[in-house]
């Protein structure tokens, strides 16, 4: 029996690879989008005017304090009520991008605030514009603090993306659900699902560890 199922499973490997592709595509899109938006928000959160800082802080807390599944349902099932109709895939990317932007915002703001205030003052005093202060002095010093948790966040994002299977996106997890209906050997099927996630995440985890070591002993001296 086991051998038969294994053969079947190998037969549905193309489907798994397709799921892998979807998971990778959704992850990369929201990871890139989330990073860009997250950095943008983080910089404002650390140094913008009060009402805007407060607004971003509120939004970030709201998103971090509610389950991702609920956020996804709201985008997919409630948005249409107010006239925003999104297919499953765009809805998934939008929700994931928002989620990662919020986490990355906090990471970036934390890194920026960890740079001593005197650094910015010295740069301002020598005539550098706010943008130049950020670009040449604050960010380079904040990056060692930001990078390790940022990469860690990417791993979380990829794993969190499995939630999007519930609205019908055929990612790896969804492929697992579909397959297990034909091959009732759950351990085997979801074992494969797990392995596929691990294959994507493991290199990133290693990279994150490497970065952490680099940042500790690297060229940034304090």
């Amino acid at each position: 029996m086991w051998g038969y199922y294994l053969e079947q499973l190998i037969g549905s490997l193309p489907l798994f690879l397709k799921g892998l592709g979807i998971t990778a595509a959704v992850s990369i899109l929201s990871l890139v989008g989330g990073t860009i938006i997250g950095f943008f928000l983080g910089v404002i959160r650390a140094g913008g005017i009060k009402p805007v800082r407060f607004l971003i802080g509120g939004w970030v807390d709201l998103i971090r304090g509610t389950p991702f599944l609920v956020q996804l349902f709201i985008v997919f099932f409630i948005f249409p009520d107010v006239g925003i109709h999104l297919d499953a895939l765009p809805a998934a990317v939008l929700s994931l991008t928002n989620l990662s932007a919020c986490f990355i915002c906090e990471i970036v703001a934390g890194g920026i605030l960890a740079v001593p205030a005197g650094q910015k003052e010295a740069a301002a005093a020598s005539g550098l514009s706010a943008y130049q202060q950020m670009r040449y002095l604050v960010m380079p010093q904040a990056m060692p603090t930001i990078l390790p948790p940022l990469v860690g966040q990417y791993v979380l994002l990829i794993k969190d993306s499995s939630v999007i299977s519930v609205i019908g996106v055929v990612d790896i997890t969804r492929v697992g659900w579909l397959t297990v209906q034909r091959i009732p050997e759950g351990l085997m099927v979801f074992g494969l699902v797990g392995i596929l996630y691990f294959i994507i995440c493991y290199p990133i985890i290693r990279f994150s560890n490497l970065l952490e070591k680099r940042m500790k002993f690297g060229k940034y001296r304090f």
Binding site: G118, E121, A124, A125, S126, G127, L128, S129, Q132, R221
Partner: protein
Amino acid sequence: MGNTGFEKKITLLRPNDIKPTFFKKIAAMGIKDMITFKNVNKWFGKHHVLKEINLNVEPGEVLVVCGPSGSGKSTLLRCINRLESLQSGEIIIDGIKVHGRETNITKLRAEIGFVFQQFNLYPHMTAIENITIAPIKVRKLKKEVARKLGQEILDKVGLGDKAGSYPSQLSGGQQQRVAIARGLCMQPKIMLFDEPTSSLDPEMINEVLDVIRNLANEGMTMIVVTHEMGFAREAANRVAFIDEGRLVEIAPPEKFFKNPKNERTRLFLSKILAR
């Protein structure tokens, strides 16, 4: 002494240093102030930190400012390059209102070197990178030109061989001299020093004061917040005493030290000179 800072500047300038604007200024007559405080008031919330400050600093003048901790010395300096805002009054630098709405503040700051008590060097950059970043990004100097200028200035502060060192590889005195070089590299009109030697070990104080003394001799307009009264005596044109946000006394050093008018100045001096 008796020299005003302005006369000093004339005698010490080399001929090719004298710019046409210099003569225009003389022609315009009356010595134009480099720094002017007019009824300046500064509050931090309910705390009145600077009270009705009136003050002029002439081109080439060296003003030493002293006063007890918390009296507002740092705040006074930080208002000059708008690191702090004012609540009333105005500060005018070389004819430009510092806190004016239309004032291009980054442009104005480029003309004012600021040296902090804690150095505030950029830890991720070498000494030469520390001092050339602003000339390159603000003055738009070519990198090679800036480096050459930077190297000259490092030579001048006695750190010609430290161009490639990171701040963490330098002693406190060396770091503070790099910080001074960073200000000078912008070729500013004014240098401001906020207790430049008070976080240094005693044996390093003089190497920093020497650099500041040389600047004074070259005719740089400077305000130096310091409690180094020996330095004040020889290098300052005038010494000011600030207490609880008020400019209590300002006088040439011989008068300030021998014959202070105000009782509080006397008390402060006796305390500080007894140390």
